[in-house]
Structures are given as structure tokens and as C-alpha cells.
Symmetry: C2
Subunit: 588 residues, 2 copies
């Protein structure tokens, strides 16, 4: 490819609305162009990256036995009413009426359509298992689209759906996809982690996220360097402390803590460790009669250590809180604590309530908490002596670095990641809602066991950039770079020798199957180099009159700061060594 025949368009400045580096660099490198909030044109330079991502995903999905189809972008609302999602989903679901006033949605995913296909096309267990996937435009009307392709409204997703005859078979389909995802992410050339994720209402452990590691990632990823353990922060278990609760050694004292309404302020004010304080969170669940009318509420007090954070997903699994909960109202708090929020605690309650203590709180002695009175805390609080033992002891906190790994193989570390893939066992959630059955071996209509598997095709390039960039611009891994190698001729307009050498090399590299671009735009060296460093092409060769006189070219990898001289005659062998292409018969 010659740059003059392609579409190279770079910008010195990032747009004002770009907050994250990938957004800034993709716009500056001319890869995407904003059409509207969260809606982008994929410009030629960016589309090449997206197409390479697609090609890798398609190859590995096919390799894993999945079969590609394409489902419509515009889908009838009546199908979405069968699962209740037409009404249940919020305004993220873009709804539209056709000329006859019939309801449609712009697909955010395709569970309904694919389940509709399965229930009429997959009639017998003999046709199972089957995994159907598409790579297709999706739309989600985000309330606050931002970060460029990271959280757009229109995006491209690969979504796959597996159909199995029973749970055992579904397990195998799930594991097959899990392995396919590892193959896919290995090929992208990015650092990533497959982390266990919470599988919500379905239960079980069959949900994993594929996270591209990046310090700017929105998600906290927990892993154990000494083992294979990895999970997202919602899922990672904080093990029960190994040591028992110490005996009480301090008296209960009501201590003035003027203006100190947070654990951190109290710890600082009293010069004590934050880990000796306890945070109070007050939740409520509504009590309903048989007709579904709300007749009252139950109030819950959750206690986590001052240096820990509550984990909402874990809280949502506690019996009694697992049907949904809310924060308690001021009236409910006043009724039970006799005080307003800020200095609440479990000692001296006005009205009994359910106390849930984190496992770590349950083994504390001589701790500090609010005294249910403004500007006062209790110190020297002890279970059993100053208040009853908790009603529930459970893991309700986020793990922190240094916690024991749940597999007992070491201690946990935490890093940040960007979710770009998710594999998920669905069970019969959709097949039951849509009465999607096949005839089992026993001749009975049986619900499909389903799984779903997504990859954010247009999000992946953004994640790759968050992970791989420097002050000069993007650094693409070879596998998904818009071009693998750029030829930069110096003074091509003036020098026939440079032009000839550049064009000869361009043609030779094309013949080797290298995705090469020759910059024949006539830019000056500085501007030319800056453009390709911004765009992030991994390999660069400079061709100049001075070099040619010494029979030399200059090679520089995007991660290097200095060029190396390469004999012009040996350049193909040198590039093969750099992995730019493989010689036939070479060991891969």
C-alpha cells in the first residue's frame, strides 16, 4: 500500500471531549472520527485494526466449531417481549417504531433472536451441541457515552450462543469457548487475564471475564502470583481469618470524636490503626404481603473494617438480602439507632435489627465504632460483652492486596484491567422464557442449556492502546497493527535512487505477504516519523541517499528509541528475524 493512495490523517491536538489516552490517540492518529456522542466512523486506518481483530476472532471461533451467521440489527419488539426484556431494559435499549407503528429495537445483543432460531431449527438432540455466532453492529444508548470506543453507543461485538442438550454438555461447550478465548487473546499479543466473574442469579462458577491489563482500566483484577488464581474484585473471596478472636482487653468507653464522621478521621484523631475501626452500613428490605403490597421493612446493619470496602455483589447473596435491598431511609435509621447517619454503630440500639458482620469484623476485639450520638464514638468495643454476637457472619468485603489467595497458594495482588471478553453459562434462562425446546433422547421436549460469549471487537483496539502507548503515540502488537511495517524514504521526490529502492522493497515485502505501507506523501522526515509513531506501526525502515551510498537502511522498532543500521542486501533476512514475516519452511 502506498500512503498517497490510502487515507492518512493525523492531528496534533486531541479533541476536548477525550478523557482517556486511547480516545485521544485514536482520534489523533485518524483511526476514528466522532459523528455524535458515542457514535464513531471507523476511518480507514482504524478499520484495518478492527478487521484484523475480526479475522483472528473468526478464525478461532471457526476452529472451535462455532458456526457464523448474521442476525438483524433491527429486531421486532414482540420477540423481546417474550423474555420481558423489552420492558425491563432501561433507556439503554434503543426502541423504534416502523412506518406501521410496530415496535422494534436496535440490537444490543441477540439472545432473543438466536433462541428463536434454535427453537425452530434445532429440533433434535442429534443436532446438538451447536454454537452460533455473529460479528455485528450493536447499539446501547448509554446515558453517558465516553472514552471513545471504550464506552460507545454504537459498537461491534462478536456474540456467540451455545445450545446443549444437558448441563454436562453445556460445561464442555463452555470450556471449549474458554479455550478459544485464550487462543484468541494469545494471538492479539496483549497482556491479559482470564478472571473468574460473578455469574449472578444463575449461580455456579461458569463465568469468566477476559481483561486486558492496563493501569487505566475501570475494573480491579485480583490474582495470585504464586498460582493460577484470578478473579474480578466482585467475585474474589476474602478467606476467613485464620486466627480466632482475641479476648477483650479494653473497657467500653464513649469517646469524643468531634467532627470525625469517617473511620479515617476517627483513626487519625485517636491515633489508632484504621484496621481497629468498624464501618456501619444500614440497608433495608421491604416486607410484602401475598398481594405484593409493601407492609413494612426489615433493617440491616452491615459491619466492615474501617480499611475495607463493602462488596455489593457479595452482600446481594446473603439470605434475606438476595431478593434485592436498598439503603435505609433516614426515618428507618432514626427509628433503630436514635441518631442520624455519620456516627452510627451496633452498640446501644434503640430497636433490634439484623447485624451482618464481615468475617474479619467477627474476629476483632477492642474495636471502635460510632456511638449513635453526634461527635462520639465507642472505643474498646467487644462482641458478646458490649453487644450480642452478629446474626450473620459472611464475606461482604472486597479483597485487598496481601490477602490470602482463596486457593491457599499465596497472597493476592490487585491490578487494573479492561473487560473485552466474557464467557457465561446461561442455563435455561432464555430457553425457559421463550419455551425453546428440542426433542431429547427420551422423546420429550427439553429446554436448551445455553451459554453466551462476547468479545468487544471495537473496544479491543482501545484496550490495546491503553496498555501499549508512550508519549509519542500508540504501540501496536504486530497482530493487530494497521500496517506491520512502514517504509520511510527520505527525499523520494529528489532522489531516483531512494524512490527505486523504496518501491523495490515495497514490492518485495508485499510478495512476502507483509502488510507494508510506503510513505510516498513527500512529508519531511520529522513529520513523517512523528505520524507513524503516533499511528503506532511496529516496524520502520528508513531509506535515504546517505544510507544507500553505504548500502545501508535504518531499522527501528516502535518500542526502541534508536535505529539500527541494516545492510540493504540483508534486509529481508533481518526482518524475518524480527518476526515481520515467516520464511516458508521456517519454524513458527
Amino acid at each position: 500500500m502506498k500512503a498517497s493512495q490510502f487515507f492518512v490523517s493525523t492531528y496534533k491536538e486531541a479533541p476536548a471531549d477525550a478523557e482517556v489516552i486511547s480516545h485521544k490517540l485514536m482520534v489523533r492518529a485518524g483511526m476514528i472520527r466522532r459523528l455524535n456522542a458515542g457514535i464513531y466512523s471507523y476511518m480507514p486506518m482504524g478499520l484495518r485494526v478492527i478487521q484484523k481483530v475480526q479475522a483472528i476472532v473468526r478464525e478461532e471461533m471457526n476452529q472451535a466449531g462455532a458456526v457464523e451467521l448474521t442476525m438483524p440489527v433491527v429486531q421486532p419488539g414482540e420477540l423481546w417481549q417474550e423474555t420481558g426484556r423489552f420492558d425491563k431494559m432501561g433507556p439503554e435499549l434503543l426502541r423504534v417504531q416502523d412506518r406501521h407503528g410496530r415496535d422494534f429495537v436496535i440490537q444490543p445483543t441477540s439472545e432473543e433472536v438466536v433462541t428463536d432460531i434454535a427453537r425452530s431449527e434445532l429440533r433434535s438432540y442429534k443436532q446438538l451441541p451447536k454454537n452460533l455466532y455473529q460479528i455485528q453492529t450493536k447499539f446501547r444508548d448509554e446515558r453517558r457515552p465516553r472514552f471513545g470506543l471504550m464506552r460507545g453507543r454504537e459498537f461491534i461485538m462478536k456474540d456467540a450462543y451455545s445450545f446443549d442438550k444437558d448441563k454436562d454438555s453445556a460445561q464442555i461447550s463452555y470450556q471449549t469457548m474458554r479455550q478459544a478465548y485464550r487462543n484468541i487473546f494469545d494471538r492479539f499479543g496483549l497482556r491479559y487475564r482470564a478472571v473468574a466473574a460473578d455469574s449472578g442469579a444463575i449461580g455456579g462458577d461458569l463465568s469468566e471475564e477476559f481483561q486486558v491489563i492496563a493501569s487505566t482500566g475501570e475494573d480491579a483484577i485480583v490474582y495470585c502470583p504464586q498460582s493460577e488464581y484470578a478473579a474480578n474484585i466482585e467475585k474474589a473471596e476474602a478467606l476467613a481469618p485464620g486466627q480466632p478472636r482475641p479476648a477483650a482487653s479494653q473497657p467500653l468507653v464513649k469517646t469524643p470524636t468531634p467532627g470525625q464522621s469517617t473511620c479515617a478521621q476517627v483513626a487519625e484523631g485517636l491515633s489508632i490503626a484504621l484496621a481497629t475501626t468498624v464501618k456501619s452500613l444500614v440497608l433495608a428490605t421491604d416486607v410484602q404481603d401475598e398481594q405484593g403490597n409493601i407492609t413494612g421493612s426489615t433493617v440491616w446493619l452491615l459491619l466492615v473494617r474501617g480499611d475495607h470496602d463493602m462488596n455489593e455483589v457479595k452482600v446481594g447473596k446473603i439470605a434475606g438480602l438476595d431478593k434485592g435491598y436498598r439503603f435505609a431511609s433516614e426515618a428507618e435509621i432514626l427509628e433503630h439507632f436514635g441518631a442520624k447517619p455519620g456516627y452510627l454503630g451496633p452498640v446501644g440500639l434503640r430497636k433490634p435489627l439484623k447485624i451482618v458482620a464481615d468475617r474479619d469484623v467477627a474476629v476483632m476485639a477492642d474495636w471502635v465504632c460510632g456511638a449513635n450520638e453526634v461527635d462520639f464514638h465507642y472505643t474498646g468495643v467487644n462482641w458478646g460483652r458490649d453487644l450480642p454476637e452478629p446474626d450473620v457472619v459472611a464475606d461482604i468485603r472486597n479483597v485487598v492486596a496481601g490477602d490470602l489467595s482463596p486457593d491457599g497458594q499465596g497472597t493476592l495482588e490487585i491490578e487494573r484491567g479492561i473487560e473485552v471478553g466474557h464467557v457465561f453459562y446461561l442455563g435455561t434462562k432464555y430457553s425457559a422464557a421463550m419455551n425453546a425446546t428440542f426433542l431429547a433422547e427420551n422423546g420429550r421436549p427439553t429446554l436448551f442449556e445455553m451459554g453466551c460469549y462476547g468479545i468487544g471487537i471495537t473496544r479491543l483496539p482501545a484496550a490495546a492502546i491503553e496498555q501499549n502507548h508512550d508519549e509519542r503515540g500508540i504501540i501496536w502488537p504486530d497482530a493487530i497493527a494497521p500496517f506491520t511495517l512502514v517504509l520511510c524514504p527520505i527525499g523520494m521526490d529528489r532522489s531516483p535512487a531512494v524512490r527505486e529502492a523504496a518501491e523495490k522493497l515495497h514490492d518485495a515485502l508485499l510478495a512476502k505477504g507483509v502488510d507494508v505501507i510506503l510513505d510516498d506523501r513527500g512529508e519531511r522526515p520529522g513529520a513523517m516519523f512523528a505520524d507513524w509513531e503516533l499511528i503506532g506501526i511496529p516496524h520502520r525502515l528508513v531509506i535515504s541517499d546517505r544510507g544507500l551510498k553505504e548500502n545501508q537502511l535504518e531499522y527501528q522498532h516502535r518500542t526502541q528509541t534508536e535505529a539500527v543500521k541494516v545492510a540493504a542486501d540483508d534486509v529481508l533476512a533481518f526482518l524475518a528475524q524480527q518476526g515481520v514475516f515467516q520464511e516458508p519452511g521456517a519454524q513458527g
Copy 2:
């Protein structure tokens, strides 16, 4: 590919709503599946065809120097307001509001978005010419979607847009695309014609349709077997008759023609040639004052020979009718003719009007027309003697087979076609509306000269089927067949020899790059053959125990009715001869 791992789903019956053969066969062969009126899922078998069409289009577009990008499906209404299309387009344009109540459209094409890109990215004449294209999902909310993929609501189109600095350059861009389209359509392996089309308001001859020839096509195509001339029926010129008008030889006679209100009935009733009768069509144009209020109307009488049809596009180019016309009202007709429609004619008008005679009518003598009195016609009508010479003489009829070719190289034939591609010179229509300029060599902001170029990616397979099918099903050309060759083993379950031979051949063909499918589903021969004939795979090899004992396989091309025996050892060489694959080094 093994059929058991793919998705093969055939039906004996076509759906009730399928009117045309391509729709019936695509559904029966499991290629598409209806989700809603005019909205289809592209099932795995159909998607393979679509992807092959896309790959050919992409290769040739890139080869022609066009650059691919992807523009959003959901586009902001405000951009469409700049060209006025947001309001001007009817309900075909699917409009939607986002969660904030802002207007969007689901793209039917992308002129607005691409022109918006050009006006900010293409700043200098040095960046021109540039041709940008996408292959993307489109939506057109057809009032009456039908014929499967032929006239769907959601469809995939390749749309390209060229930007040039002046008309001469735009001509070259247009011709480049025209040649690329010829290359593309040649590769599809279909019989097609590139025909001149009317370019509407833009004028000039720069509009061509690419029509796949099919007797079921909606469009009439005019061509000259003795030359390169081809045009659609709207465009094809009927040459002026070579001979002068004969002298009058009959008297004007008012003749009873009871109940004979059409030319055909009159010709039959009077035992005269239809070509001696003249049809009257009464049109009207409104007269407006400066404020645009309608103050009156002009009535026009158009005359074509009884065996000819009026051509609305040609009529719309006559000075005075080129701003729009309508059929005259009954009152207007009564006022000018003193009679109701059915027996109208230009002789003995009550009030003068504009008479437009087709070129053929203008040279007639002794002709027959209505007498402006029910149940009466005039015979022996002659220009000059019985009525004044016409106000306008013009080509206002459709050509018919046997007419002289406009290029003077022979006579015209007419066949039917399906439009699957269109190349069109746009001029500055969109760039002017959106003030899309670049800096020309003279330093002045200058409007882009534009062209647009479409191919109906999902319509093409339907057109291919309309052209190529028989009573057994589809007949794909190799280039776009879902699979090039099917291996049909007989009794693979029982015979290890058949299984081994089938799998060995499957692997050998894969290694040659052949798109092969091995039917390992265990169907009986009759059902298996019927499936693949319905699906339309061009090449079939049958492997049986009986054949293997004689070291033979049976080959049959989809267009043949008998199989031929092929020595098992020679089968690869045989298939290469059939064009199933090319041996390296073979001449292509």
C-alpha cells in the same frame, strides 16, 4: 468442513409469503430465515455466499484505489437536515429518537456522513481524488417489503463515494469505478449487462446500472446485439423515423366504434393494424403566481402510436413538463375536449391545448383516433389537413424490440434484468447542500465533484438464483457458491473404506484450498443428493463401496443430469480440469 459441524437445514416447502423463486429457494435451502417483514437472518449457508460476494467486491474496490471505512448505522438527524433529506424522504427513512429525544436515522445510504467526513478531512486538492467505500448494514422501511432479499427492509450494501477537484477528474473516477464494476461482475460468474440509465436532474450520461439478466427481472433492458449499446427502458432513445410523412390518401371519416375505448379494440373492430391508431394521454401543469399560489393550469395532449407505450422519464424532460406534471382532471378534460376519457383525440377540440406528438406519430398519415364523442373514432386523420401540426415533436415512447439502435449499428432487443449495481455521477448536489469544500490550486474554497457507486451485496445472491436455478434448486457459479464441492459418501456409517476415502479426499481438497464440505450426517443417498442440489453446490463427488471396489468415484456437475465415473487415483487432476482449483503454476 464437515456437514455435522456446520448448519444444514433444508425445507421441502417454501413459505406462503414467498412469491419469487429466489425467495423460495433461499428459504428452502436454509440460507435465510425471516425475522419480520423484509428482515432476515443470514443463516450460515447464506452468509457464506454473502461473504464471498463481499470478498470479491472488497478486493476489486481496493484494487481500483478505493479506501474502505465504516460509517455508523445510527446517524444524527441534524446532518440529514443539512441536505433536506431528513424531511424530504418519506417513511422509507427509519427515524428514531435517542434517550435525550434527539433525532437519528437508521442509514439507508451515507451521502451526508461521507460528505461531512470529506469537508473536514480532505482539505486540499493534493488529497484528491479520493474514493471512500463501506460494506455496511442499511435499512429502508419499504411500504411493501417482498421477494426475500430482493426487496428487503434491512440489507447490506457496498456504497462508495468519490471526491474530485473538477469535472474532468470526476469523469476519470467514474470511469475507474465503471471498470471496477465490470471486473466485479465478471468475477461473480453471472450474465449481466451494464446499461446506460437516466441520471435525472443531474443530466449528462454518467449513470449506469449493472443488471443481472433474468427473465423474472423487474427492469426492461434494451440492447443491440450488433453493438455495445445497452440502456434501461427509461433511457433508451427511440430514433426519429427515417422516412418522411406520406401524403394523405383517405378522407376524414367519423366512424362508429361502439364500446371500443382502447386502440386495440378499435384496431380489431375496424380490422386495421394497431400501428395505424394513435393513443391520447392528457396531462396538466399548474400555473403559479410569484407567491407560489396556483392560479390556473395548462393542459397537454400527448400522442403515441397505439402499439407504443409512453415513457414517463422522457415526458418529464419536455420543456414545460420538466418541472413536474399530473394527469388532467375530468373537469379539465371536459373543458378542452367536450367529452369524457375513452374516446379522446386531437381533432375538433373545444379549447386549444398543447399537443406533443411522439416522433413516430408526427410522420403518420391516414391515422385513427378518438372523435371526442362516445362510441366514435375518426379514421383517415391527417396532420395539417384535419388539425394543426403538433406544438412539440419528441421521443416520448418506450423503445420496442426491432427499433433501430441509437448508435446506428443494428436493431434493438429487449430482455429483463435485476439491478444489483449502480454507478452515478452526483456533481455538486451534496457538496453544495453541505458546503463541502477543499482548497483548490488557485487557493479558493471549491465544492467537491462527487460520484456514488452502490452494489446490493445481499440482493446479488437473490439475483444470481433468479438467473441460475432449475426444478431441483439453486445452481451457484463457483465464485459465490457456499461450498465449491460436496463429498457425498454412501453408507459412511457402515463402511470404514468409504469413511476413510471420504476423509482422505476431504483433507486433500482442503489442502488444495478447495472450499469442500463432507456430508457426514448419515442421510440416505436420495435425501443427501436432494439437499445439495437444492442448496446448489456446483461440484459433487459420490464415494461408495461399490465404486471403491472398482477404484472409482462418481462426479456430477450441478448443471448435469448424469454422473461420470472418475478413477479414484486421478480425481484431483480431474477436478483441476473442472476448474475446482488451480494447480500452482497452471495458467489461469
